[in-house]
Subunit: 398 residues, 2 copies
Amino acid sequence: MEFISKRGIELPPSPIRKLAPFADDAIKRKIEVLHLNIGQPDILSPVESIQSLANYSEKLVKYSPSNGNLSLRESIATYFQKNNLQVDSSDIIVTNGGSEAIIMSFFAITNPGDEIIIPEPFYSNYFSFAHITGVKIVPVTCTIETNFILPEISEIEKKVSPKTKGILICNPNNPTGVVYSKEQIEELIEIAIKRNIVILADEVYRDFIYDKLTHYSLLNWDTKEIQERVIIIDSFSKKFSLCGIRVGFLITKNKAILQTCLRFAQARLSPPSIGQYMAEEALKTSNEYFIKVNNEYSERRDILMSEMSQIENLKIGRPSGAFYALIGLPIKNAENFCEFLLKDFSLNNKTIMLAPAEGFYINKHLGKSQVRIAYVLNKDKIIEASKILKEALKEYRE
Amino acid sequence: MEFISKRGIELPPSPIRKLAPFADDAIKRKIEVLHLNIGQPDILSPVESIQSLANYSEKLVKYSPSNGNLSLRESIATYFQKNNLQVDSSDIIVTNGGSEAIIMSFFAITNPGDEIIIPEPFYSNYFSFAHITGVKIVPVTCTIETNFILPEISEIEKKVSPKTKGILICNPNNPTGVVYSKEQIEELIEIAIKRNIVILADEVYRDFIYDKLTHYSLLNWDTKEIQERVIIIDSFSKKFSLCGIRVGFLITKNKAILQTCLRFAQARLSPPSIGQYMAEEALKTSNEYFIKVNNEYSERRDILMSEMSQIENLKIGRPSGAFYALIGLPIKNAENFCEFLLKDFSLNNKTIMLAPAEGFYINKHLGKSQVRIAYVLNKDKIIEASKILKEALKEYRE
């Protein structure tokens, strides 16, 4: 490892990555692998967005402004206004996916060694963003037994130290599917004001809410006192099944934070121009698209829950949003089980790939027997996958 | 500046940015501003690349692999092989422009506080990449009097300390247009081997070489001893006038460096899919495109040099590559002069925007009276711009 930096060596590899060679090997053995391990939706992108490529009329694909095209930022603002959330185009910086929006925000509000509080389990790439920016993640533990709701406010406040710069929530949540209630968010706001820290709200799954629940965006609390400490993270990736265009954005009404993020944005010149063009077209998609997509995910969730309830001794976190569920398995080591699924098991020449949940926790032991299931496959496949899980659990011996 | 981190406050703003409000104001006063200040080429992107968008047939724009599509990496490898440089698709990571390739490389080989040696003047965003990664830039000063060639090898070696992890060269150079000779590069290699450090070669302008010179890529020295310490940075932005697609790449045959960069690449999921599709199409562009583009830039360079030679008391760095020239003006403060050009001067209702060279130096005073001219406008406009410069210098009083 000559030449490699300590921070390079210590950057955690993607937790799913470890299993990839076993999946490749299964495919070589002609086993069909049902991928429930990643957040790549199978729902098609809006046709209008892709068809619009044929009308792209620029002869020179230039850099866009570092904060993104004004026309796209205006369209994003309009989208929020339609949802009764007051956003102005000047509150927005367009980024290389939601990932970059989080990295920029961390840079803007923390120095190396500073702390960000995050409810665990959390999206595993938060580990990487924290590592890259030298941030220490302080977890607030949520448990499958209480369906991953936030603990008592006093428990959260205990985590705030002089080094704490912010609280990051993902709502609806990846990996748990939990949608935070109005009251829970109000408690977080109370802490943020009292302890003078920022709230970062990763709302990339904001359009996927089930059971007729209401999604409370941090933008809902529109007083200056609150908005000056709020950064919203959003993206076109999941909203419109456009993961590959790499267009996300951040929103903040705190001009100092915005200007600081903009300087980071200038350093990398601009977000992708063609992706921005497609994103703008995607925003013209009719509301029916969302209704259809929402229904589809909601039905998948129902089928998955119903299938899981037929397997003995599972602990099930019931998701109300996004397209993930965390399942506690009646085994000691879920990673070994995921490996077993790929290496040693198949049913009618098929098997499933799951994400071991350990990678979503700071306190690794909490996720040791859990897996995350992404319901990004159609209903028939979800039923099939559930059967495979059931049979595999019967056959698996630790 | 509540909530803003020290590193956020200290991140240098783009040096050109400061002048932007004056340019905006000039435009409001109906003054046409000729932009010689930025590296956005005016040469059109290859038509085939843009037309290919109409044939994009995916219905779902997915994440690509974190290291980029295999088909694109294979096409890149073939492009290098055609230029007699041995590159394999597995040596490449596709990035969000060349910018990200440099940031990833810095992360992979340095810890905060480590040093990278860079000949100055250098591309001003290197300051930002160093700031973001906590790297200290140690400059090797090149002067306009010697047309910005590298100083004696002993001068460079003096800069190597126990904290030095690499030498970064930009070849052909932004902002000087210098193309390093075979002998100069061999001297750098000698130091790199002797002191056991890495050479990062930013070769994004590799296709723009004039006067029938040969470009010596760091890939030309293909022994294991050398290649294990080489990282090449490249991009589609300038090569094909496709700045907006945000597709660059790094090449290294050092597998440990590649794997470490890949983990950083995984953290941001993937480079843009549509940009990669266009990049692959662009690589099918016939060699005539490059010949034409090269001739165009070469002629512009000649005209610019001829015009500049008619202005008294200029110091001129004669570029042999890329599309930049550094010019020493017979004034004390070039930044003030650039402001004057936008605020207080016009010729036939036109003026020019230049980049003050101070932002390209660590030793600011060296660039105090210099400006960078990007010859990204057609020949008539370059002649016009030169006249404006000549007249403005007559009128300007410090």
